[in-house]
Amino acid sequence: MSFLALTGQILRKDFRIEVRSREGVNTLLFFSTLLVFLFRFAIGSTETQVREAAPGLLWLAFILTGLWGMARTFQVERENDCLEFLRLAPGDLGGLYLGKLIVGCCLMWATELAILAMFGLFFHLDMWPVIGSLIPVLILGTVGFVAIGTLFAAITANLKAREVMLPLLLFPLMVPILLAASRLTDLGLAGDSLWAEAHWLRLLIGFDVVFVVLGYLTFPFVMED
């Protein structure tokens, strides 16, 4: 099986599971709603406080919900020893990584749009006029996050201490994304062009390329048994 065929199979399988159970989207939505509520209580009540904290909190919300989303991508495979069978899939296991990466990104993007809408609703931020400049940031930031998250989720899925090991490994590596994406989100929310600080955009693009390639190359070693 060519690796793209394997990617296609994973996509079909995971999307079918998601459509039938809606477990991923439902849990992520509920969790992110709770987060938005907690953030609102935590940062104080004036509109300026809210506006200043919004970009960072937005990305914190993405990363915290994403942590659960990432862990799930491989935990669904633990039931009935599915992971064992995936390991035996013919062809390049990098295809499996690519499939999981795409599924993870789609799940994250859906959740992120919902969180964005909730921020707009509960924090009184007008998202419609700026959505055009926020979407590229969401896309670029998420790919890098999921590229590392998927790989680390595969590593930690088999560990006893997986709940604590995944964030321990993942969070320190997220510093560049958190800085770049929240800065760009800040620009976007202010209605400025992202190109005003193009170096952050370049950093995100570079990060995405490097870590998708590294993830693709190293994933087969993680799956080896």
């Binding site: 590392i148 790989l151 680390f152 590593i155 560990l159 006893k160 201490a161 090991m165 321990l168 490994l169 969070f171 320190p172 590596l173 510093v175 560049p176 800085l179 770049a180 170096h199 952050w200 950093l203 570079g206 990060f207 490097v210 870590f211 590294l214 190293t218 070693f221 993680v222 080896e224 048994d225």
Partner: protein
């Protein structure tokens, strides 16, 4: 190997003594900061040695994934441990240096943040190793984290630099340092690198012995 390690150990001790004497006694105090600046003779060599250590982790990790020989894995593990120690020394001495010069023990400056992230990544690396029982699997997982962590640090350094910086420019950048301070710094750097290689050899040997004992106990 054992003899080489012993010679390196003695050499590191002697070099360190000379370097510290040069740095603390012979070199003139800094024109602006006075004696406080002398902490540089430990601070700068330790971070440079840490970078060397993590580069060795990267190379050994790639080699382990490609070749699968236990030796590469032991080298990566040993180098990461020593690297974390030197990064810890850098953070501690930096903090002590920061209090009299900047007035605070810690500030969210680019270099500090970057180094702290470096520390956290490799502490995570060591923790991952400790929670995986199977050696080969621990080695493969750790190698992946070691490779990704290294590349991530490059991005982190760019990001935190644009975020903000207060730290003085790198000591080794051209013209940043007077020749009278340069020589003691280089001697100390030599001492730290020798010390690193000594620790590395000892730690690799320890790893080899651990595995041998384990094999004997399980086998017998």
């Amino acid at each position: 190997m054992d003899r080489l390690a012993r010679i390196l150990g003695v050499g590191a001790g002697v070099l360190l003594a000379i370097g510290l004497w040069m740095g603390l006694v012979q070199a003139p105090p800094d024109a602006v900061q006075g004696d406080v600046q002398r902490i540089m003779y430990i601070h700068v060599p330790s971070i440079l040695t840490a970078y060397l250590a993590f580069t060795v982790v990267l190379v050994a990790s790639i080699a382990y994934l490609l070749r699968g020989s236990r030796g590469w894995d032991r080298l990566a593990h040993a180098s990461a441990e020593v690297g974390v120690v030197f990064t810890g020394i850098t953070l501690a001495t930096g903090s002590i240096w920061g209090k009299p010069t900047w007035g605070v023990w810690w500030t969210w400056d680019a270099r500090l943040t970057g180094t702290a992230v470096l520390f956290l990544i490799y502490v995570g690396y060591l923790m991952l190793r400790s929670v995986v029982d199977d050696r080969d699997r621990a080695g493969r997982y750790a190698a992946v984290v070691g490779i990704l962590g290294f590349f991530d640090i490059i991005f982190t350094h760019m990001a935190v630099k644009w975020f903000r910086t207060l730290h003085q420019a790198s000591t080794l950048e051209k013209g940043a340092i007077d020749p009278a301070l340069y020589l003691p710094l280089m001697v100390n750097l030599g001492a730290f690198v020798t010390l690193y290689i000594y620790f590395l050899l000892r730690r690799v040997r320890l790893g080899t012995l651990e595995e041998a004992v384990e094999a004997e106990v399980l086998g017998g």
